[in-house]
């Protein structure tokens, strides 16, 4: 069945990025256990990179949690879309919620048949979960064995991962202008605010622009 094949290839491809997360997380002074727990428990790529990005840049735990959680709000909206398709309760709903991410929702909502929508969600959700966690461990172990992260370019891998995540979203002039404003605002705040604050403050831009239309 093609939905299972699609789920598997997407799961493997996305899961492999876990290597970049594991390596970046160790570089940002998170332990092996902390890096693996982020992938097991938070299990949302952008939020995980945000936590290590904010803490790695010297930000407080509060800024890290706030930034990561704002990036996680889209998963709540995915849940709204998935609930009527999956129709699960109790423990199954807990499991469904944990694997509600960009990829499982995307594969599911791309299917026509309700049965394929359900299959696509579970296969992609579990598939990404398994590969993402395996590759996180491998990346973290790899980064642990090398010495100075800067000598291996790992300090540039973090912003590269972020730009890779945001690039496909910069689809028109409006979003590019908003992105440019976010760069300007965050860098302007750097000398005057504690680390981490410049990042979370850009959420105001999203609220102001999104509020008005």
């Amino acid at each position: 069945m093609s939905v299972k094949r699609d789920s598997f290839s997407l799961s493997f491809a996305v899961g492999a990025y876990g290597t970049a997360f594991g390596a970046a997380s160790v570089t940002a002074h998170f332990s092996l256990l902390q890096s693996c727990l982020l992938s097991l428990l938070t299990f949302s790529g952008a939020s995980q990179f945000a936590v290590i990005g904010v803490v790695g840049a010297g930000g407080s735990a509060i800024s890290a949690i706030a930034t990561a959680s704002l990036l996680g709000t889209r998963n709540a909206l995915y849940g709204v879309r998935m609930a009527p398709i999956l129709k699960v309760r109790g423990f199954r709903r807990v499991v469904a919620a944990q694997v509600t991410i960009d990829e499982s929702t995307a594969i599911s909502t791309a299917q026509k048949e309700p049965r394929d929508q359900i299959t696509g969600f579970w296969h992609t959700g579990f598939g990404v979960f398994i590969f993402w966690n395996i590759f996180t461990l491998l990346g973290a172990l790899g980064a642990k064995t090398i010495g100075n992260p800067s000598a291996w370019g790992l300090d540039a891998a973090v912003p590269a991962a972020f730009i890779g995540l945001v690039w496909p979203r910069l689809i028109d002039t409006r979003t590019r202008l908003i992105a440019a404003a976010a760069v300007a605002l965050s860098l302007a705040l750097v000398p005057f605010t504690p680390a981490g604050v410049p990042i979370i403050t850009t959420a105001l831009l999203a609220i102001i622009v999104g509020w008005r239309a």
Binding site: S31, L41, T67, S69, R74, G79, F162, W167, A182, V190
Partner: protein, 103 residues
């Protein structure tokens, strides 16, 4: 408890809560157009700010260093629509080369 532990636990708890809320509240609560619009913009501003801060700052100072070479490689790779692992690896290689030239 270290900053890292607080961040790991706090983020994990809230990440799951957000996912679970989506599956459990009446859809109309979260389907408001204003919420959908703001929600679509949030990743754009936060991820872009994370690019900027992680590329050119150290603590609370602007610092231009070898990471710029990595960022330039990443942008070039994105322009040519290369896949994500190539972008991240390319950036690491570019940055590492610049680092060794500078030291």
């Amino acid at each position: 408890m270290s900053i890292q532990w607080i961040a790991v636990i706090g983020t994990s708890v809230l990440a799951f809560a957000l996912k679970y809320v989506g599956h459990s509240v009446p859809p109309k609560w979260l389907a408001h157009p204003r919420i959908t619009r703001i929600n679509a913009l949030i990743p754009i501003v936060l991820l872009t700010a994370l690019v900027a801060i992680n590329s050119v700052t150290v603590k609370t100072k602007i610092v231009i260093d070898h990471r710029m070479a990595g960022l330039a490689v990443a942008i070039t790779a994105l322009y040519f629509k290369l896949p994500f692992p190539v972008i991240v690896l390319g950036a690491a290689v570019g940055s590492a080369i610049a680092y060794h030239f500078g030291h």
